[in-house]
């Protein structure tokens, strides 16, 4: 197995090849990588793979990691049921 086929985003099973290909083709940010490939969009909310994606984008000539958090967080930061969102107890 080579590096290219390594899964980067475990939740959505997105490989290095798919992410690299997307960065190359669209010359894009972490956020655009997420929207185009679903990497970082799974159950964990990108907690596991976001640092890798940020680093890949930076190393492949994308924006240098700045003070801004590259892949912004949106609530809910944990998957919760509509019941919980509606105020019900677990």
């Amino acid at each position: 197995m080579n590096e290219e086929s390594t899964v980067v985003c475990r939740c959505e099973e997105i490989t290095l090849k798919e992410i690299q290909g997307t960065i190359e083709k669209f010359n894009c940010s972490s956020r655009e990588v997420k929207l185009r490939t679903r990497a970082g969009m799974g159950s964990c909310g990108g907690r596991t793979c976001r640092s890798t994606i940020d680093r890949l984008v930076e190393q492949m000539g994308g924006p240098v990691i700045s003070n801004e958090v590259p892949l912004s967080y949106r609530p809910p930061v944990r998957p919760v049921s509509f019941g919980i969102l509606g105020g019900a107890k677990e």
């Binding site: 475990r10 939740c11 959505e12 099973e13 799974g42 159950s43 964990c44 907690r47 596991t48 998957p79």
Partner: protein, 111 residues
């Protein structure tokens, strides 16, 4: 009783007075210790695979063990997306492994 349990430990001491309970994983009965999480109880019984990936059907088990990665998500007493690593076992708990979604749910699929 189970070789995967750390019964004795030079710094942490011995495990004592463990109360045993029964849990069910995919219909099969297993013995757990009170105070176990679902993940630790199943691992002590030699269960590594907690689910098959929804799309690719690859086997998955615990990864972070502290609730960050959601890799250990299972169905518990009918409730979905329960983290095995954060959920204490209860007597007669019914745990089901995650299974691949049917084709109609997969990206681009049609009903």
């Amino acid at each position: 009783m189970n070789s995967m349990r750390v019964e004795h430990h030079p710094v942490l001491g011995d495990l004592e007075n463990q109360k045993e309970i029964k849990i069910y994983f995919d219909g099969q009965e297993y013995t757990a210790h009170e105070g176990d999480t679902i993940a630790s109880a199943l691992l002590a019984s030699g269960i590594r695979t907690l689910r098959l990936h929804e799309d690719k059907a690859t086997p998955r088990g615990i990864y972070c063990n502290i609730g960050h990665c959601f890799e250990c998500r299972v169905r518990v007493n009918g409730k979905n997306t329960v983290r095995a690593c954060l959920t204490p076992v209860e007597n007669h708990m019914q745990i089901e492994s995650g299974t691949p979604l049917s084709a109609s749910f997969i990206k681009g699929g049609t009903l």
